[in-house]
């Protein structure tokens, strides 16, 4: 992509009402546009990051035999009344609206109930189980406050997955398989060192659910952590958990975290309430066991900004950067830069090519603000020397590389 063709521009300032570092940087760099508090549009560079995160999650969900679909934003009242969750007293973050004939509708903040309802048309017998399905859905949640940028949106993208099984044991096995899949996701996102499977509050079926919590100063959660034993407990269940695990609270470190995923074992409560059953091998109508598994895609994007940004701007992990290379020109080297741009792209390397007629300092500042992992500079002097100036976003010093060295470096990244 040529910067001259990209309509977004970087800015030295963010809107005065924006207090979250992630949103400030993302707005300044032109990744997102703030529509209102908690509601952000994703501009071309931002959409690329969202899609890269989604693709990593998609590959890992596909790998555990889950089927992608897309449910609807508009929701029926009767479906949610079956579990008592239509009520604004029970669920206080509904957005609701109406058809022209005054029929009340909800706007999807979760899709557990409609997924169960939909499956009634598709699950009959034990032969139809297990089922796992997921979606990337834009959820709407009427949060009272929305001050954490894209880490807590009123409108945000979530991967939600649901699995259905003929027995509690089969659900438990899939639940563990999903934990492993989630670990691979956070590994690929560059978050695994600081992300912990954390005990959190359960429901009527299990004592605990599990959250994936990433250490992050901007997070809204507090967990108690034992790094060596790899034990993490959300403060909401600390008393029960230390008892259950037989550990002392004194061994644990209190840290601020952001929830980047959560998984929940519903048992057969919700499917029983909604009347989703199956005919077992011996011909009985039997209960179906359900798990629910979420990853906040845009929240993860916000966490990546919060964790890795430095004083010059965003620092994207390689796997989610919108482009791998920022190619900047100094002086009139368009011919050589165009050729290098084509050559890199032909090798499958994604390049943001700053072909603008602006000061080198401005180009370097933008490269840093945008957080592109690798910066390559071309100038008349460098061309004369047959070399390329190369710098990683995470380093301050640049190196002079030959063309072979440059391609070897970028291909290895």
């Amino acid at each position: 992509m040529r910067v001259s063709k990209l309509f977004t521009r970087t800015s030295k300032t963010a809107p005065a009402d924006e207090v979250a570092k992630n949103a400030q940087l993302l707005i300044r760099a032109g990744y997102v546009h703030k529509e209102m508090a908690g509601v952000y549009a994703y501009l071309p560079l931002g959409l690329r990051v969202v899609e890269k995160i989604k693709q990593i999650v998609r590959e890992e969900m596909d790998a555990i035999d889950s089927n992608e679909l897309i449910m609807t934003g508009l929701q029926r009242k009767d479906v949610w009344e079956k579990t008592g969750r239509w009520s604004d007293e029970v669920v206080d973050i509904w957005f609701k609206t109406k058809l022209q004939d005054e029929t009340e509708l909800g706007l999807g903040w979760s899709h557990e109930e409609p997924i169960v309802e939909m499956l009634k048309a598709h699950i009959r017998s034990y032969k139809d189980l297990p089922v796992s399905l997921y979606q990337f859905q834009t959820k709407l949640r009427n949060e009272l406050r929305a001050k954490s940028g894209i880490m807590r949106g009123r409108e945000f993208v979530m991967k939600d997955m649901y699995s259905f099984h003929g027995s509690a044991e089969e659900l438990e096995a899939y639940y563990q398989r999903t934990i492993d899949a989630y670990k691979r996701v956070y590994e690929r996102l560059g978050l695994s060192d600081d992300t912990y499977v954390t005990f959190a509050s359960g429901g009527s079926f299990t004592q605990f659910s599990h959250e994936f919590q990433t250490i992050c100063d901007a997070g809204e959660d507090v967990i108690y952590l034992h790094r060596e034993k790899n034990i993490a407990i959300n403060e909401e269940v600390i008393d029960d958990a230390v008892k259950e695990l037989g550990i002392s609270r004194d061994e644990l470190e209190k840290v601020k975290t952001a929830e980047v995923g959560n998984i929940f074992n519903f048992g057969s409560q919700k499917t029983d309430e909604m009347g989703l059953k199956f005919t077992s091998q011996d011909g009985q109508q039997s209960s179906i066991y359900m798990g629910s598994y979420g990853i906040g895609i845009t929240r993860v994007m916000g966490v990546l900004v919060e964790k890795f940004a430095d004083e010059s701007g965003i620092v994207w992990p390689e796997a989610v950067a919108p482009y791998q290379v920022y190619l900047a020109t100094i002086g009139d080297v368009a011919e050589q830069a165009d050729a290098l741009y084509d050559e890199l792209r032909n090798k499958g390397i994604e390049v943001l090519y700053d072909d603008r007629d602006t000061r080198p300092g401005e180009k370097f500042a933008d490269a840093d603000l945008l957080g592109i992992p690798h910066r390559v500079v071309l100038s008349p002097k460098l061309i004369e020397q047959g070399s390329f100036e190369y710098k990683m976003r995470t380093e301050t010093e640049s190196n002079s590389l030959t063309k072979d060295e440059l391609f070897a470096t970028l291909s290895a990244a």
Copy 2:
């Protein structure tokens, strides 16, 4: 994909309240789930078709230098008040909702106003123009009636593109370029023979807008057509258009059509109303000229079903079929079928592999209902003969092919 791993099942019946052929077939085949009238979830096979249509549109929009982004569903009242379109008297298909503090919000039925508003942060001077951007957005429209299945949804996916230019002439040139891009889209979708660029009602800036209308009995529009001269006129502007074009109404054929795209020249009306300006080369604050270009992605999917379906079910054009090949087994040939499945996929051919232990007649009926372009059958007898039974969805007779012939046929498709 193995049919045994796909959670959806086909059905001989559709919901009693579903009157549209496209939705009846898509529900029966397990492509969509009806949430309520005009609101459909896209199940795994349906989502694949949606994504294939989107990808064709994406490639053609990228080819005319447009940037993909994603705006928000939640909309601010003040943005729409600037053009008078917040009012329910002016726009009668708004869904509206409220924040907890009673602030009114709209749900995006279009994104013209928020796009213009957003661009105020990014367009300053003539150097920033032209700009073209597009999104695939889930639009919500509070239609009084919704009886056309996915051809007129209350919730549906639309590609909407917007372009911004420094002069009326530049906009006009881009408008023509977009017409050519749209023609390529409909060509790739298999609709070009029956799709016409049609004069439709304009606005204050131009006498006519242009619609892309596809001949379709289930369509909601009527156009007057001259096939040889390639002239098409929406009946809403027939009087003005025959006068303008100097043709006689008697030469024209009246046909039912579905609108599959529309493009609109706003001139500088909307940008002036909203205060989006640029500084021209001579330092003047100048008007920006805007075009708006839509393609209803899910509507196009419905039109494809309506146009090509036969008495046995859906018939997908090659380019949008969820899978290219339906591989069905008769008898115990799992080992050979597994091997063929792998071999086809290794060649990049998308295969829906019916590995179920069910009657051949059921498998063939599903292959037809699902509308997969190519059907390949394996049986013990065929294996003994070293041959494969091959049938195109659009033909009634099958052929016996050698493996080389089979791969040659499928690779050429």
